[in-house]
């Protein structure tokens, strides 16, 4: 700590506060994250450990640099290169910033290059979303927030948790609870970010996992056996019957995104249902979209939000609060694992009650038929975390009875919980 001159607070993360600082030895401007250890019974949080272990191995111009890690007074400090803003701020600042085709291309290329580096190291990011893509003082674009990252591709891979990514960026195989997935989940999220860059708003903002699936199917068509051969065998896929919807034509997507045929083709390949056929980061970088005119904007010329980190004042409340406020009650657009779980497993109580009595659910426009048990399953899927009161507020009488098969399913779910969650929930 003695090497750094502390500056103003830049933001608040799930595991600690981030503040600006200057390295007294070099004069370099940095951002320091203080990992809260306070009452932690389990020492340095696994999220921080993951961030450290991955960022130490990844040195790439599109991945945030972890400069130093040091303990001080029983807290752990992570020193990062200083960044001024994130992609979410750019997307939202519709009033001041215009995004040209070349700008979107430059962002996409940077994100894909960063992810290609991760995947080349067999690391899945698992939390790709606009606010985890940071922008540097001279326009650099870098992936950050590796706290949900995970090594994949080892032959003895065991089950992974499916509670990763903010819901809006969650790939369909995750929504169907597939526990053996790979880097393709990151690519789906990139597709969503691509769409969001063009639309300037989240494309598929579901309020719960089921609604998310139906939004996806409405937008991209319900996948047929041919489009996604393995789908029917995924854990929860057989319990839900979706109305068949035809895939959108390229022309209609071009109209929606007001973009070229090459962009639509890239988008469709990133948002390919079958994870094994979904485009990889390497392949995407070779897509003709990046070769075509207009060329990607050089990063120094990329638009920058007027308000840098730490100066948003009241207009930008801290971290998750802002997202939650905008996403509406129960909508989780927060990468943090535990919060993701809480939100996804406890949709607003009103919904449950109405589901149970057979009245149309809040997602009334959701065109799907599914057994009542499945809806309960959706709500019950995670064990009670701490004394969260949401479930207790449901009258026992309103609950539909679970079939025994579903009970087994739920029990299994509880056993399968990723250990990481137990740890995370200790905090």
């Amino acid at each position: 700590m003695e090497h750094y001159e502390k500056g103003p607070t830049l933001g608040e993360g799930t595991f600690g506060r981030v503040f600006a600082a200057t390295d007294k030895r070099t004069g370099r401007r940095v951002a320091i994250k203080k990992i809260r250890m306070g009452k932690a019974k389990e020492g340095v949080n696994v999220t921080a450990i993951r961030e450290i272990k991955f960022l130490r191995e990844l040195q790439h111009e599109n991945v945030i640099e972890l400069i130093d890690v040091f303990p001080h007074k029983r807290n752990l400090y992570l020193v990062y290169e200083y960044m001024t803003s994130d992609l979410e701020a750019v997307i939202k600042d519709k009033a001041n910033l215009r995004l040209r085709v070349g700008d979107v291309k430059a962002y996409m290329r940077a994100i894909l290059q960063g992810l290609a580096a991760c995947h080349g190291h067999w690391i899945m990011h698992r939390d790709v979303k606009p606010n985890n893509i940071l922008l540097g003082p001279s326009g650099q674009v870098k992936l950050a927030d590796f706290g949900a990252g995970r090594v994949f591709g080892s032959p003895n891979d065991k089950k992974f948790t499916t509670q990763v990514f903010a819901r809006w960026y969650r790939a369909p195989e995750l929504l169907f609870d597939s526990q053996l997935y790979s880097s393709a989940v990151d690519m789906w999220a990139v597709g969503c970010v691509f769409a969001e860059l063009m639309l300037r708003r989240p494309w598929l903002p579901g309020n719960n996992d089921l609604e998310q699936l139906s939004l996806i199917f409405e937008a991209l068509g319900t996948p047929t056996e041919e489009q996604w051969p393995g789908m029917k065998s995924l854990p929860t896929a057989s319990q839900v019957v979706f109305k068949p919807i035809a895939s959108p034509t390229a022309a209609s997507l071009r109209q929606l995104f007001r973009c070229g045929a090459d962009a639509v083709d890239l988008l469709q390949q990133l948002l390919c249902f079958d994870p094994s056929r979904r485009m990889s980061a390497e392949q995407a970088l070779r897509h003709e979209y990046f070769g075509n005119e207009p060329a990607a904007t050089p990063w120094a010329d990329l638009p920058r939000p007027a308000v840098p980190f730490g100066e948003e004042g009241s207009s930008r409340p801290q971290g998750g609060a802002r997202e939650a406020a905008e996403a509406g009650a129960g909508a989780g657009n927060n990468g943090h694992l535990l919060q993701g779980v809480r939100r996804s497993s406890f949709p607003p109580e009103g919904d449950c009650a109405r589901d149970a009595t057979g009245v149309k659910a809040s997602a009334s426009e959701v065109r799907m038929s599914l057994p009542a048990e499945m809806k309960m399953g959706e709500n019950e899927r995670t064990p009670v975390l701490g004394g969260n009161g949401h479930r207790d507020s449901l009258e026992a009488g309103e609950r539909p009875q679970l079939g025994s098969a579903d009970k087994n399913y739920l029990r299994k779910r509880k056993l399968d919980m990723d250990r990481a969650f137990e740890l995370a929930s200790n905090d």
């Binding site: 019974k41 340095v44 450290i52 272990k53 890690v69 303990p71 080349g120 995970r150």
Partner: protein, 260 residues
Amino acid sequence: MAANFWSSSQCDLLLEARERRAEEASRAPKPKARPRRRQIVLRGVEPEPGEPGSSGGGPGSVVTQLVDYAVLLSKELKIRQRPVLTACAYLWRLRPETLDPPENAVGWSELDDERHITAVTMACVYLACKVEEQPVSADKVAGFSQGLCSATDLLDAELCVLEDLSASLVVHHPIDDVERYASLVHADGEASKVAMACAEETRRTDLLLRYPPHVIALGCLRVAMALEGADTLPWCEQNGVCKEDVKGVCAELVKRCRSL
């Protein structure tokens, strides 16, 4: 992850260590390392007998002892192989100063010394379990010291270990490469089992600080194949692996096996 050894922080560490050794060798004979003032006693672990002729072990033998302690601890807590190997690699990577706290600190007793080194060892295991995504609880780990270290001591030591390792937490292990190369050098089931056992045994040596994991793996395979009368050295050479390095690994392994 194993595919990326060449771009890993472990590779950087290895290159640095090589440079350092070369530099030391070119300098005047260095003064004898300060002998530890006593053997440390750790629960259930025999101190290393040390090289014949020398009194007590050098710094290396202290680490061997700590490795044994870590392995015992891991057995009791049923920790899997990979976190144990990673923990052992951490122990070897620690700077001697971390293992050997200043002697003249006020009020420092031998008991503190033992407590310190136990906490550091346990912290390596505890941290490695988190890094390998198979976390164990701090209370359980601390419990193994039977009251010598509290969970708080363990967590303090965790921070200290993190700093000492300069946060390079990913370790590439020879054991993965043994699997990969076994079929290439035509090692059958039995030979590859022997090679695996050798690779596991390397955790008690500082080989990982001196050679890339795949070279260690090839050394293990060579020893295993030698038992069957085959020499894999020509294969290594053909594939551009330094013959001398593989031989060096083998020599160390054979020395180990003799002392068993």
